[in-house]
Amino acid sequence: MPREHRNPYNAHFFPEPVLSAENLACSRGDRLVFRCVEFSLESGQMLLVTGINGSGKTSLLRIVCGLLEPAEGEIRWGGKRAKGLGEDYFAKLAYVGHVNGLKDDLSATENIRIWAGVSGTPVAPEEARDALRRLGLEGREDLPVRWLSQGQKRRAALARVLIAKRPLWVLDEPFTALDRESTATVEALLQEHLEGGGMALLSTHQELSGITAPLRRLGLDH
């Protein structure tokens, strides 16, 4: 069974893990995807979810985001049930799923501004453009998203995470369709986020070379 052991030294400094999952099970229809999944995440840590296709990586991330109800177990934030925290918990996490969550008819800047506005934390157009430039979308900020390439769309979706300034990043295969250069940029941003005390939970098939922060793995293969 996949099981994550807590580092005893870390536990000494952080008696209460910030994010924890207890005894999670997930079933889709009649099929049990995984069970007995446990992990905890503390400030500055990153957890890499690995596993073959269909092992439930996306489902696990969706459970953490509260988009999917686990068959068993629960997610806790600071020791409290995430479900009970409701919107207070949503305010702590930024999620990029395997679909980008961008409107094709809006520009990347509009997408980010509207997303921020609907989240209750509006941003100025310049702020949104800055985030897009950091991800290498210089000159593409005001084009309709439908004109962007797959990789560029992915980067626009990741820019949303950057602007959100939330402690927990949940990224589902963030490096899909990204070229080597943008992969390095995203890794650098992740590193910066972790150094600033943030947390990240991501699923990927790729080896991460640019990250020196403590990296832990959760394998979903049985």
Partner: protein
């Protein structure tokens, strides 16, 4: 909180403006259906006059239902609905914004164009005015009730037919009192009673619709 409502309305209005054909479809459908009846029934005004309120209301109801499929389906497909579900804001507030925007682009234009179409049926004076008022009060109810059906069927194949089955029975009181108001006015009884009941439906549906849709969305998007 109010600004979140503003952002979501603005988002859907901008999107509607950029996909004008979708909006026009609803309106053109309404105009065509209403104009077909005089062709089928015959041009005698004595025959058409009693049909006026019923035909206009049934056409408005069908046209409004035609556009319901788009309410959440497009957002579901591109992943923006997921982002809305985990926005740290009350989901029912966001849904209320979407209902208002839906009414502004589908219900309100129908109501405003209806008096012109009513002239074809020899409606004049007060009944024509009452038709406009009854549609202005009644079409938001159609959007609010329809949102529940749209939320329940989001992500389902063949959801369009299912929406009709779910929502049409709930539209019955609206059409009875909406068309009734016009007839009451034409026969000299006075439309106040019908319109008051219609307004009561509006208030009720604006409270229940967003709450029920929000709950339905959480289930549908799993």
């Amino acid at each position: 909180m109010g600004s979140v409502l503003g952002w979501i309305i603005r988002r859907d209005l901008v999107l509607a403006l950029r996909q004008r054909t979708d909006v026009m479809t609803t309106l053109v459908f309404f105009v065509i259906v209403v104009s077909l009846f005089p062709l089928g029934v015959g041009p005698e005004l004595e025959k058409l006059r009693p049909l006026a309120a019923g035909v206009l209301w049934v056409a408005a109801l069908l046209a409004s239902m035609l556009s319901l499929g788009r309410l959440f389906a497009a957002d579901y497909a591109d992943g923006t609905l997921e982002q809305i579900l985990i926005a740290p804001q009350p989901l029912s507030l966001v849904v209320l914004g979407k209902i208002i925007a839906h009414w502004l682009v589908s219900g309100m234009p129908l109501a405003l164009i209806a008096p012109i179409l009513g002239i074809q049926y020899d409606l004049t004076g007060e009944p024509l005015f009452v038709l406009l008022i009854s549609l202005l009060i009644g079409t938001p109810v159609l959007s609010a009730i329809g949102a529940v059906g749209a939320a329940l069927t989001v992500g389902l194949r063949g959801g369009g037919v299912l929406i009709a089955l779910l929502v049409l029975p709930l539209y019955v009181p609206v059409i009875i009192f909406g068309a009734g108001a016009v007839e009451a006015s034409a026969s000299g009884i006075g439309p106040e009673g019908h319109l008051s009941l219609l307004a009561a439906f509006l208030l009720l549906s604006l409270v229940v619709g967003p709450l029920a849709s929000a709950a339905a969305l959480r289930i549908s998007v799993e």
